[in-house]
């Protein structure tokens, strides 16, 4: 089997399981909703203020919510020793990694698509700059969070107190990506500056870390 067919098979399996249980997406959605409501109470911004802080609020909410899904990435593969079975099979490890990363990417993108209208309503958001660029930023930024998050979730399942470990190692590495997403979103919403630099930066971040993940995943999967 080639990497592509294996990736697709694993991805379809994960999507089907998620479709039937809706565990990850439901907990993410509710978590993000809570964050939106709590931020709204905590800052209580006017429409003009919220245009300046919304970029930060949105991405912090999505980052926290993504961690909820990322933590569940590998948990179900531990039951019945699926990971061990995968390790002894001749299947390329990167196919498994890519399937997991793409699956998480889809979950978080769905979350973003569902939560963004709520943000717009709660914070009375109206954009000054070109909105279509937000889509590029969201896709690049989400991949940046998810590719490292999927990898670090594979690290953190081998640690004690694994649920808390993931944010501890993911957040420091994600700081530049988060900064880029927040600043690009704010500059579009306020129309003050061009987000071009940040889009390029996020693309570089994505390329660099996707390569590092693919290079190292086999090593981490086989760590004993």
């Amino acid at each position: 089997m080639t990497t592509l067919t294996l990736t697709r098979a694993t991805l379809m399996k994960d999507l089907r399981m998620e479709w039937r249980s809706k565990d990850a997406i439901n907990s993410m959605l509710f978590f993000a909703l809570l964050v939106v409501v709590i931020f709204s109470f905590a800052f209580n911004p006017t429409a003009e203020e919220s245009r300046h802080i919304a970029g930060g609020l949105i991405w912090v909410a999505f980052l926290f919510a993504a961690v909820v899904a990322l933590n569940q990435t590998w948990a179900r593969e531990l039951r019945n020793q699926v990971l061990d079975a995968y390790r002894v099979s001749p299947a390329p490890p990167n196919a498994l990694f890519l399937a997991k990363a793409i699956g998480n990417f889809l979950f978080v993108v769905i979350l973003e698509a569902l939560m963004t209208p709520l943000f717009v309503i709660f914070y009375e958001l109206r954009s000054v700059g070109p909105l279509w660029q937000l889509v590029t930023i969201a896709l690049l930024g989400t991949w940046a969070l998810v590719v490292n998050g999927t990898f670090f979730a594979a690290l953190s399942i081998r640690t004690r107190s694994r649920e808390i470990m993931l944010p501890l190692i993911l957040f420091p590495i994600s700081i530049p990506a988060l900064l880029g997403m927040v600043d690009a979103t704010t500059s579009i919403l306020t129309g003050d500056a061009s987000p071009d630099f940040w889009i390029k930066m996020l693309a570089v971040y994505d390329i660099v870390f996707t390569s590092v993940c693919l290079l190292l995943f086999e090593t981490v999967l086989n760590a004993e």
């Binding site: 640690t159 420091p172 590495i173 700081i175 880029g180 190292l216 004993e224």
Partner: protein, 228 residues
Amino acid sequence: MKKLALISIPLVLILLGLTSYLNLAVAPTEATMGDVQRIFYYHVASGWVGMFCFFVNFVASIWYLWKRSPQSDALAAASAEVGVVFCAMLLLLGTLWARPVWGIWWTWDARLTTTLVLWLIYVSYLILRRFSTSGQTQVLAAAFAVFGFADVPIVYMSIRWFRTQHPSPVIGGGPDSGLAPAIMQTLLINVAAFTLLGLVYIWLSYKLQREEQALEAAHAQAALRGAA
């Protein structure tokens, strides 16, 4: 090994005493900043040692991923520990200097922020080491070290886009840069002393890591014998 400790540790202590004397009493007072500038010697020296440690950590991690030698894992752990300490010193001394000179303790400038993020990354490296189950620690830590090192240039590039307040490099930073000869000499002696201090720390920490590895192996052997 004992002999090396007997020579190197007193040597470091003598050098540190000498630099304290030079920094505080001998070196000329800087024209505009006054005595506060004396922090600079410690700041630059500990910064250099911290960055050197992180570089050693990266090389040792790559070496571990390639050769799987327990020595390189011990070196990676030791250098990360020492690097975090010196990096923390760099940040603390920087804030002490910034308050009288800039009027603020902290600013989100490119170099400051990059250093802070670097410090955060290596603290999480140490946490990962501490919390991972034995037997897998080495590989997980080495993989994470590669991520940390790849992140640094991106952090620097992205924060530079904001604004920069940190003084530009005084050595080789352009036609106006440069240090008075007396200050330069003092700085070089400080860098030498701190480098030696850092190396002694890494070496001691390395020995400790090796002892821990031996202990862990002995425990595993004992468990195997018990099971048999």
